[in-house]
Symmetry: C2
Subunit: 216 residues, 2 copies
């Protein structure tokens, strides 16, 4: 088991039994998700912005327009917190107090840096695309030089991180189990709809396999 170090900010104070520093557990959550929330500080107050990401080994990759305020600032190496949250269900207890959610989340603290090297940048963009929809990259027109210039790609080590997970049925107070109240879990998940072809597509074009069989 590859355990990440427990630092003051990754040591869970609340419900530590839900926490994990196991890299395997952290990676599984990061690999299932594809949206993170990036927190950074700009002139004092914090800002939290959603964006896509990929994991490559022990690095998180994010990208966006060169004009993005978030990427410009985060790329300077300021402190960031990147959080990924998967919601698995509503936990419906017999008491209002013990209602909860089943979830899996990862919080990564650290500092990002800009990928300048052309080959590394293309590799990171490929990884991002493959993380979000595997098999798509080889089907599409690759970025040209102008597009590469307009894109900022950041990498951030996953070295100071923790996972937090809740699973299973509600936990009620012992005396509440006798109450005639339905309790259980209502599972929630991401579901994938029918692909909507671009109106400008020629008729009868096959939907590619990576779209047809998309899953996470």
């Amino acid at each position: 088991m590859d355990e990440l170090p427990r630092t003051p900010r990754t040591t869970l104070k609340r419900l530590p039994k839900r926490g994990s520093h196991d890299r395997e557990v952290i990676n599984q959550i990061l690999d299932e998700g594809f949206i993170c929330h990036v927190g950074f500080v700009l002139d004092g107050p914090p800002v939290v912005i959603p964006t896509g990401y990929a994991r490559v080994d022990n690095q998180l990759i994010i990208h966006g327009s060169q004009a993005s305020r978030m990427l410009r600032n985060v790329g300077k190496g300021i402190d960031v917190c990147v959080t990924v949250t998967l919601i698995d269900g509503l936990v419906l207890a017999r008491s209002a107090f013990h209602h909860s959610m089943n979830y899996r989340s990862v919080v990564v603290f650290g500092n990002a840096s800009v990928i300048d090297d052309r080959e590394e940048k293309i590799a990171a963009l490929t990884a991002l695309s493959e993380h979000i929809i595997r098999g798509r990259w080889k089907e599409v027109r690759e970025p040209n030089e102008a597009e590469l210039q307009q894109t900022t790609v950041l990498t951030m080590p996953i070295d100071e991180a923790s996972a937090k997970i809740r699973t299973g049925p509600p936990l009620d107070d012992e005396e509440d189990y006798a109450l005639p109240i339905w309790a259980g879990v209502l599972p929630l998940q991401l579901s994938i709809g029918e692909p909507l072809p671009d109106p400008r597509l020629p008729e009868n074009m096959d939907v590619p396999e990576c779209v047809r069989n998309y899953s996470r």
Copy 2:
């Protein structure tokens, strides 16, 4: 149309045509979501934590254990940023560069305060429960005094906020429309599974209507 003021931090620099300060638009997104990411600063670096929320008029309500570090600190009135993100689909363009996502997000900046008044606290907890699963509150055992004591409830005005929305098909470079590459949108949504009864429930207990017909 009730427009919120544009402040330096809610004026969108990137793709401003995707942005809105219309309270109606902001409220619709906040009412469909139920998980927010709260960003705050603790001894320098930012921290981003997921949690449930409700909207009541022009206020956001969050709650949790009195022991929670996040609530303890945010309740002091420090600067916070609360972000809600709904992902509607993967936008698959003909070029790698124009890949995107359809999404609706809201960013709220401000300062929270603790609800101390007993009646207001119960009203806020009721609203939270109703926001996450309407009709559940009246079915369950209400919080007792000890539970109320252990729960911290925060309220934060939705006065400095903006929405950002992307919808519709990919937007490719004009010359790329001729390429023989499938393009379109792969819709994603939250789906609701079959309720899982608590193993300690008596047999043949009916699943209540608020669980059976859950939707967002």
